[in-house]
């Protein structure tokens, strides 16, 4: 057993989760000192990031068991407990969350003009929700954090967003919330169905739920309910349309967290809940999900090719990239799942960085229209270099983080089915097309306005906020084993769980492919 007492001596997960929220409460009590409360926010997120590194340092990467377990009864009559624990996948994503939360504080240091304190407080609460989701090992607790994370984001878009912020915020909220409610129904349903007898308390503990076996119909319904909730977050085609609007309207920091971490919650949920709890349904539905993923990959790329707004372009590219995540995960083999997780990690770094870059450009030029830019490499050489770096990483240039994940999930998908793998690979061509074309139109060709030479290039503060992302992107590209080792045991546990079902369902998969073939 990996109890937190034995492993590290203090409840690190609880501290990680609630430290930002506590800092947020402290900030609410301090009034009128901008420097001071920004300092508190920075200190809290920095402390949290360091804690997340401590977590990784103490994490035993040779086991798939859940670690740093904290378990206290919460609502005992319903069988709900405050149960926190992590495995390799969560640890990686917690680190990513803590890092991005740390980065956005200096990045939006001067960006927000009104209700500045509340802005930072909202982000701290958001961090609590996000880390909580990655730690929760009790379904109801998971749901609680899931909703906690939704609300600050709603306000961030709705209060500090662009001109159509209300529409975007409501759309974001309704899409996500519709999914959440389906998930809540499914949570309650399986908690009650998993009881040993009608008089026992419901089972919300994921450890126990993973051991219980549900009937096929229950699996299908519950899987779909969970899956839709996660698919909205990922977002999977055709549930993605909230994303471009939300991104375009959200402030830079909001976009960074939204794309960097929030989308990953969807993929994380699929790994944490959909696959271990409903293996039969997964085997049946995986081909269909893969087809949706492929549509997302190609469709997102095609649509981003014709976007005129930089943020929208990056947003649609997220749809395309996250398609690789779901494609890798539902290829249901070790390579694919590890690839999917790596894509999540790398997409968090890169898209976060791209949104930051767009924000920095916007602060200078006050526009995000690609048509208004051009030739910016002249006045902003450093920015051009940095943007090129992240663009290349994002289009999957080998040696940078994007490649490893994308290639692994393609290999996984290809192992599952050759035609699907081949179709997904087209997305790689299209990614190069829309990203390079974007880069060319923004940075190359003639400078449109000589005045821009008077504007400053990237400042030290901005470079410092981008540097960790760039370093990690190179690290994950050159020596991805650091991260792959972290997730390997957990991913292997999933495939081991799926193995018996795959053996039985192997021919079923083929049959479904036959049915797919009949459709087209």
């Amino acid at each position: 057993m990996y109890d937190f007492q034995e492993q590290i001596g203090f409840p690190i997960l609880t501290v990680l989760t609630f430290l930002p929220a506590v800092a947020g409460l402290v900030m609410l009590l301090m009034r009128g000192k901008p420097k001071a409360y920004k300092g508190v926010a920075l200190a809290a997120t920095a402390a949290n990031f360091i804690l997340s590194l401590v977590l990784i340092a103490y994490f035993d990467r040779y086991t798939a068991d859940m670690q740093f377990i904290e378990k206290v009864p919460w609502i005992s009559s319903l069988g709900v407990s405050y149960h926190m624990s992590v495995d390799g996948i969560s640890v990686l994503l917690i680190m990513l969350t803590a890092l991005l939360s740390l980065i956005i504080i200096p990045a939006s240091w001067n960006y927000i003009k009104e209700r500045e304190m509340q802005f930072f407080v909202a982000f701290l609460f958001l961090e609590t929700g996000l880390i909580g989701v990655f730690c929760a090992r009790d379904l109801l607790l998971f749901y609680v954090f899931w909703e906690i994370m939704l609300i600050p984001m709603y306000f961030i878009i709705g209060i500090w967003g662009g001109p159509r912020r209300i529409y975007a915020a409501v759309k974001f909220f309704l899409f996500t919330f519709a999914g959440s409610l389906l998930m809540l129904i499914a949570i309650v349903a399986i908690a009650y169905l998993a009881r040993a007898n009608p008089y026992a308390t419901p089972v919300f503990d994921m450890d126990l739920l993973e051991k219980s076996i549900f009937s096929y119909q229950v699996q299908m319904l519950a899987f779909l309910a969970f899956f839709i909730a996660f698919a909205v977050k990922v977002p999977m085609w055709p549930l993605h349309t909230w994303l471009p609007d939300a991104h375009v309207e959200a402030p830079t920091a909001g976009s960074v967290i939204l794309a960097g971490v929030m989308l990953k919650v969807g993929g994380y949920g699929m790994l944490r809940l959909c696959i271990p709890l409903f293996p039969d349904a997964v085997v049946t539905l995986a081909p269909w999900i893969l087809v949706l993923s492929l549509i997302a990959i190609i469709y997102g790329a095609l649509v981003s090719l014709v976007q005129k707004d930089l943020k929208k372009l990056v947003a649609y590219s997220s749809v395309s990239h996250m398609g690789f995540v779901t494609a890798g995960i539902f290829a249901l083999n070790l390579v694919g799942i590890e690839g999917g997780i790596m894509v999540m990690f790398s997409h968090g770094l890169l898209t976060g960085a791209l949104f930051l870059m767009v924000g920095f450009l916007y602060e200078r030029l006050h526009t995000r229209e690609i048509a208004d830019m051009g030739g910016l490499a002249g006045p902003f050489p450093v920015m051009a270099g940095v943007l090129l770096f992240f663009t290349l990483a994002s289009l999957g240039l080998p040696g940078l983080s994007g490649f490893v994940g994308e290639f692994l999930s393609l290999v996984g998908l290809f192992t599952y089915s050759k035609p699907l793998g081949a179709i997904a690979s087209i997305g790689v061509i299209l990614a190069a097309a829309y990203l390079l074309w974007m880069f060319q139109r923004v940075m190359f060709t003639k400078l449109r306005d000589e005045k821009w030479y008077k504007l400053p290039d990237l400042s030290l503060r901005e470079i410092v906020s981008l540097a960790p992302l760039a370093i990690l992107a190179v690290w994950a590209g050159v020596y991805p084993n650091t991260f792959l080792q972290l997730i390997q045991p957990s991913a292997a546990r999933l495939t081991e769980k799926m193995a018996p079902y795959m053996a039985e369902g192997g021919s079923a998969v083929e049959r479904i492919f036959a049915s797919l073939g009949g459709l087209f």
Binding site: K171, L174, F175, P238, T241, W242, Y299, L302, V303, S304, L305, V306, Q307, N333, L334, V335, G339, M342, G375, A377, P381, L392, L397, P398, G399, F403, V404, F407, L408, L410, V411, F414, T415, K418, G421, A422, S425, I426, V428, I429, L430, A432, A433, L436, W437, Q440, M443, F444, T445, K446, V478, Y479, P480, N481, L484, Q485, Q488, A491, A492, T495
Partner: protein
């Protein structure tokens, strides 16, 4: 040896990082010091390496485990054998020379430091490409050299055409890499490993169909990188980059990567005769197709670009028919003389103050002596003039095709060789001979500085003598023996030089000389002939001049439809259907709410009444159900 292998790529990498980070602020016009020094050391080490390999040493070295995800395990590792060593030598020699040349050529350019940094990055990637010991590393640095190519093509990024060309080069290469990547995945799925030795040792168990699929997918990558039809479109446009770049990347090294890849995978290819035939077919078609375009181009660099495409076609013919060493021999020779020719054209452009149109040149012979004579050596070499490098290498390609029974490829090769000789000397006569057509530019014309002419001289030497050194006796020359260990398993019966070969050799020499003479007739003796011939050829002439409208075709068939599709999906599916559905459902509930609004009259007693009616309904329902 390990140190040498490690230093060869790492020195340019270090130089790239240092120059790239500090060049703008600290090195400025001294940026080349570090870069040139790094490449020079790499060159020395490559020479050392080839000497070691000549002595029979080989190196298989796993440095570290790069990706380990489940069963997918790939190392960063080095493999040094004869093939690697010879590639290294070509790359480092031309690379070194181009670095030196760039000192003069790029002088005073705003992005001086940037240029050298990119060049170093390219050298690193190219070295790693040939040093790698597995397919994934090949793919990785394959993409990396593509990136450098992109950066260097769009080096003068304020030019719209340069920016477009860079993007185009990257994208067309990506199309090829799509196939390459799939090929790698297919290899992994069938064999379970990606290291060269692992793959080659387990080929016996693979079915022919899979083998052909793997080969064709890999070859798709080679077609992209080595600019073979129909993926050749990027290379002529890539001439937007500075000329040293065209010389290094788009003539001597990077474009050879495709040839290297096929040669490296020779054990796989030799298992699939069908795939080999496709390789030869594509090569042969490209050779003659590109040569025919080269005949009528007026931009000096475009002529050389199409010539490169055509010569790469030759190499693929050689590989496709199974004359592996001939292909590699042509690669080496071509690397030197085409590098030389490009640098020479750069010197001409430099002399003419940036002018690239041959119709505005002429008579430069006396003003730029060194350039002229080195250029003539290069042109004679590529035309297959007896004794020079191209004569031996091209002849071994053609003889290889003939001996393996592919006489039609041999015939195509001969025709292409004729065209080659013609357009190369057309270039020379238009540029260096006759009367100057643009007096103003001519007046300013001058020989290039020493940093540019010395590389020309240095490269002229191997262009002239490498054939004699490596190619004699034909078909079993030094290079054949040197490369034998690599291709041991796939080489057929050794061919002995006989009377037939002597005849073939003479024939190809005559063809080359014939081409030169025809060019002389057209452009020196009777300058009115080209226009007449052009008018006579009519449609064919226009087709060749417009590169057979392939770019237009791609725009009409791929690019515009894809954009239109993207726009359509966005406007109709995203905004129309999906958002329409989401907003529509919102509007529906809003409408229902509005419809029900009047029922909330605010009168408490009306509410009470409805409450009682509800109570009554429940009661009645209960009574009906129970009684």
């Amino acid at each position: 040896m390990k140190t040498a292998v490690l230093l060869i790529p790492l020195l340019p990498l270090a130089s790239f990082i240092i120059t790239g980070l500090f060049g703008k602020r600290y090195f400025k016009e001294k940026s080349h010091y570090l870069s040139v020094a790094a490449v020079a050391v790499s060159w020395l080490l490559s020479v050392y390496l080839i000497v070691q390999v000549e002595r029979g040493e080989e190196l298989h070295w796993q440095v570290y485990s790069w990706i380990a995800a489940g069963s997918f395990k790939v190392e960063i590792g080095f493999l040094v054998d004869q093939l690697t060593a010879i590639m290294l030598l070509v790359v480092s020699t031309v690379g070194f020379m181009v670095h030196v040349y760039s000192i003069g050529y790029m002088k005073g350019d705003g992005g001086y430091y940037r240029f050298f940094a990119y060049l170093n990055l390219f050298m690193f990637s190219m070295f790693m490409l040939v040093l790698g010991n597995n397919f994934l590393m090949l793919y990785v640095f394959w993409e990396a050299v593509g990136l450098c190519s992109y950066l260097l093509i769009s080096f003068w990024y304020t030019k719209q055409s340069a920016a477009n060309a860079g993007t185009k080069a990257f994208l067309v290469n990506r199309v090829g890499d799509f196939g390459f990547g799939l090929g790698i995945m297919l290899i992994f799925v069938t064999v379970g490993t990606l290291s060269y030795s692992g793959v080659f040792s387990s080929l016996g168990s693979i079915g022919t169909g899979t083998m052909t699929a793997i080969c064709l997918l890999l070859f798709m990558g080679a077609m992209g990188k080595s600019a073979q039809f129909p993926l050749h479109v990027w290379l002529p446009d890539a001439m937007e980059g500075p000329t040293p770049v065209s010389s290094l990347i788009h003539a001597a090294t990077m474009v050879n990567a495709g040839v290297y890849m096929v040669a490296r995978s020779s054990p796989i290819f030799s298992h699939s005769p069908n795939a080999m035939f496709v390789v030869a077919l594509v090569g042969a078609f490209t050779a003659i197709f590109a040569a025919s375009i080269g005949l009528v181009q007026n931009d000096i660099k475009k002529v050389l670009a199409y010539s490169t495409v055509s010569q790469l076609g030759y190499m693929f013919v050689a590989l496709g028919v199974g004359a592996w060493t001939a292909g590699m021999f042509h690669l080496v020779a071509h690397g030197f003389f085409k590098g030389l020719l490009f640098l020479g054209s750069g010197s001409v452009i430099h002399a003419m103050g940036g002018e690239q149109d041959m119709r505005k040149m002429g008579g430069l012979k006396n003003k730029t002596k060194i350039t002229y004579w080195t250029f003539v050596i290069g042109a004679l070499a590529i035309s297959g003039f007896p004794g020079l490098a191209g004569f031996f290498s091209k002849d071994s390609v053609l003889a290889g095709a003939f001996h393996k029974g592919f006489w039609y490829f041999w015939l195509v090769g001969l025709v292409a060789a004729f065209m080659t000789a013609f357009y190369m000397f057309r270039l020379i006569f238009m540029t260096f001979h006759g009367k100057p057509r643009d007096e103003k530019a001519f007046a300013h014309a001058h020989e290039s500085p020493r940093s540019m002419t010395i590389p020309l001289i240095v490269l002229a030497v191997p262009s002239a003598i490498i054939g004699l050194l490596l190619g004699l006796p034909p078909e079993s020359g030094h290079i054949d023996h040197f490369l034998e260990p690599v291709f041991e398993a796939v080489m057929g019966e050794p061919v002995h030089f006989g009377l037939l070969d002597a005849g073939l050799m003479t024939l190809s020499a005559l063809i080359g000389i014939g081409g030169i003479l025809l060019a002389w007739l057209f452009y020196v003796k009777r300058p009115d002939l080209p226009a007449k011939a052009g008018a006579r050829a009519g449609f064919l002439y226009r087709a060749a001049l417009n590169k057979y409208w392939i770019d237009e075709f791609y725009f009409a068939v791929f690019i515009n439809p894809v954009r239109a599709l993207g726009r359509g999906l966005w406007r109709w599916v995203d905004v129309g259907i999906i958002d329409g559905f989401a907003n529509g459902s919102a509007r529906f509930f809003n409408g229902v709410g509005m419809a029900l609004k009047p029922s909330q009259s605010g009168k408490a007693q009306v509410y009470l009444f409805s409450m009682f009616l509800g109570f009554l309904a429940l009661l009645v329902a209960y009574l009906i159900l129970t009684i």
